[in-house]
């Protein structure tokens, strides 16, 4: 066992686990986070996705010994009780069926929009393609990404305008 200090969703935690332990189990079982979930344990589905320094990582295959950086999970996406525009879009589009995969879908979408705020349909499909859903909510996931992109663009446009006015 070894001690590790993790910064997750703006809070610091210390855990004492075997260095080979995949991050997923520490997040779920030691830190009681339930955004990241077990789907395959093989880096094939995206259920366990987390953001580390803003990059998406599959925590099911990431040993604690190689975790470097600040972790954000689905729970950490909202700030001050305000849902992230992606989460709002997900509700507006009524995306989930069972919902089990949606952690991976939302985080994959976040990374896409952070890099490319105005993705084409083709770019959305390509970016999200590694993230699976067995309830087959893909069509609505794609619609929600477009909706969120619009909302974010709209919000920043208004923001800029305000700045000019001020």
């Amino acid at each position: 066992m070894s001690k590790f200090t993790l910064k997750v969703n703006r809070r610091t935690h210390t855990v004492d686990v075997d260095p080979t332990t995949p991050l997923l189990y520490v997040l779920r079982n030691d830190l009681d986070l339930h955004g990241p979930r077990f789907g395959c344990g093989l880096a094939q589905c995206g259920a366990c996705s987390v953001l580390i320094n803003g990059a998406i990582q599959r925590s099911c295959v990431l040993p604690m010994s190689s975790v470097k950086g600040e972790i954000t999970t689905l729970e950490g996406l909202s700030e001050n009780g305000q849902l992230h525009p992606l989460q709002q879009a997900w509700i507006a589009e009524q995306v989930p069926q069972c919902g089990f995969c949606q952690n991976g879908q939302i985080l994959a979408a976040k990374v896409l929009l952070d890099k490319n705020p105005h993705p084409t349909d083709g770019q959305i499909r390509t970016a999200l393609n590694p993230t699976l859903c067995r309830c087959m909510t893909y069509y609505r996931v794609q619609a929600a990404v477009k909706r969120a992109a619009k909302a974010i663009a709209g919000a920043s446009a208004t923001g800029e305008e305000k700045e000019v006015v001020a």
């Binding site: 686990v17 189990y25 077990f38 093989l42 729970e75 996406l77 393609n129 699976l132 067995r134 893909y138």
Partner: protein, 783 residues
Amino acid sequence: MSVESVIPRQIEELLSSHRRNFLKSAGLFAVSLATPGVAQTNPPPGPYRDPDFRQLDSWIVIHQDNTATFYVGKTDPGQGTGTSFRQLMADELDIAFNRTACIMGSTDITVNQGGSGGSTALEYDSRPMRRAAAEARRVLLEMASARLGAPVDQLAVHDAVISLQADPSKRVSYGELIAGKRFNVTLTGNNVMSATGLAKVKPVQQLKYTGQSLQRDDIPAKVDGSLKWAGDVKLPGMVHARNVKPPYAGAKLLSVDEASVRGLPGFVRVLSKGNYVAVVFEREEQAIEGARQLKTSWEKPAAAPFPRSEDLFEYMRAAVPTSKSAPVVEGDPDTSFTSAALKVEAEYEIPFQGHTSFSGAVATADPSNGQMTIYSNDMKSYSMRTCVADFLGLHRDRVRVVWMQGAPSFGRSACEDAACEAAWLAKEIARPVRMQWMRDEETAWDTKGPAYLIKMRGALDAQRALTAYEYNARACDYNHTGYNEPDSVLIAHLMGIRRKTPAPGRASMPSDVYAIPHRRMLGEVVGLPLIWETPLRTGNLRDPDGPQVTFASESFIDELALAAKADPLEFRLQLLGASAREDSGFRRARSLAVLQAAAAKFGWEKRVGPKPRGKGQVLTGRGVAYSFRGQSVVAQMAEVEVNRETGHVWAKRMVCAYDCGLVVNPEGLRRVAECGMLHSLSRALHEEVMFDTEKVTSRDWISHPTLRHADVPETIDVLLVNGDPQPDRPDLSPYGGGEATCKPTLAAIANAIFDATGVRLRRVPFRAARVLAALKAAGVDRV
């Protein structure tokens, strides 16, 4: 960390004893067999008795703040039925939707409506819910009548407030009338489905929330990360278990070397009985490692358990059926075939396809205080309770199942296996146990939808009219696994427990209402050599045999249309002409309505035979298919692109016209329809369980591909159609919405591929390599 911290908000009430105490103090449990007065010698069997469906209080509780909680015996695996129940019940009770909540599927506090299955939630199970809500409204009106001193017919109800029609300032709320007290109203009815009070339900025209696209109440917690799932339950002293499955199907366990893992950190126990083996460790990652490292030795079975997946259909052709259904015969097909001017024959093959849930099955079992609580996302929590009780030899009143959300669990999923495993382990080691299946285990060992081999024949007369039709299905479905049977869960198989007689299985028939004068339809079941302890056990998948049967029947209708020199849509419309089978026009009218609605939206181009092939690398075509499931009818049209050089197929556009009666939540239904259709698109394009003569070799998302984002159509239109000959019937019922759209997709895609390429695919799935081989054989692969 406290236990409460990981229990979902919405089921806190379940786990506190509050609700059970309410039911108990109210005498709302069904009569137990224990005789009063002899408690010392004959102690009550256990605390978890059945809530009594004949008590109104079992269904509805009105709170002080004029809100209501509905308790229903259903589960919602993600289709939004919980929200729909609230809409229907809020309408009958006359209370604002947003002042209601719905608690579902936990066996000790909700009446037994069987959980989910068969797309019956809204069609059947909502009926007693509506009647209970209507009865509560009636009783509240009587109470208000006494309180306000006016007869009921002079009262008005609006959003849970009752007032005098003549003087609305004289009013009393439901909460003021009843909160904290019990209705104490007994319902009648021989079973839960027929439970009723004196009140009548409203005509559908008076339903206010029903028909609105209200947002689903389970979605916010699924996107903000706050939902706690069945697999998230943590209990004091809980340990983690993993199975060690036989490396070969039908293998016999020779030895388990506990010493190989005893020294690993967190080791708790290795347990085995018969051929069942599991490891238990303190932490989850330790259990995974322990299962990996445990040394076991196995003896291969003397004979191969099954043929290779490549040889499955040869095997099925040669096999001797274990059973045959009585043929369904209309008219005189033999004479028609003898005198036919033209005969058409085709054979279709659909392999085993698995549930392959998004996550491995999971369950947590808590054996505290000599009881057993199971936390599970299985859609049939009620039969799970009985199954676990029987499997462990516990009185069923000592067992309860708390239903929680989880990964998709349509049909007979492996959740049931995981629950019995967790329960057995928990009982053995007397600690709460969390059992989680790994990916390879889920893909290889979950129950499979039966493989089908379907032969079809058609006879046309000299005028090219279809006169006779023959359907002959062979399903590889012997020893079909039922729901929550203590003698057919996988752990029972592996422990050597055997049902007296294997389940016969079934081969289903097409559901169309085409007017074909002469028909014969026959179903046969065949089995694989190994029927016990096999990873190729069959069980109900979403719309259990619909996609297989409809792939054959609706592909063949297109083949017949070609022989009749007719456009496939026109051909269907003609066959649905005046003398259609089965009814006095109800099914026929609705069949026509969905086909016509789909055609109008799609912009169906009439054509006989395949589209003239273009010169490009990508060929396009369109296809149609239609079917019934119960009383729900669906027509689908697809436009596909086929890359003739790679064999890649993309369904670019899909239209689905759907008549499933009264629509409770249109946007919710559209999504369910769309997801069902895409599930079958996945089955059409990707899914096939692969195996060699020792084991299943489909073990992950590489060896068992599924639909992905890139496969999804550019546009999907779901049209909700009311084709009822009396569309404004006050008693219009919802029919099953959950599964019907899974049925026709495989055929619609195959028919579209034929239109694009002129090549008929009769073997599912249409993976690129298979499509390319067929295009090559027909010389279509080159421009």
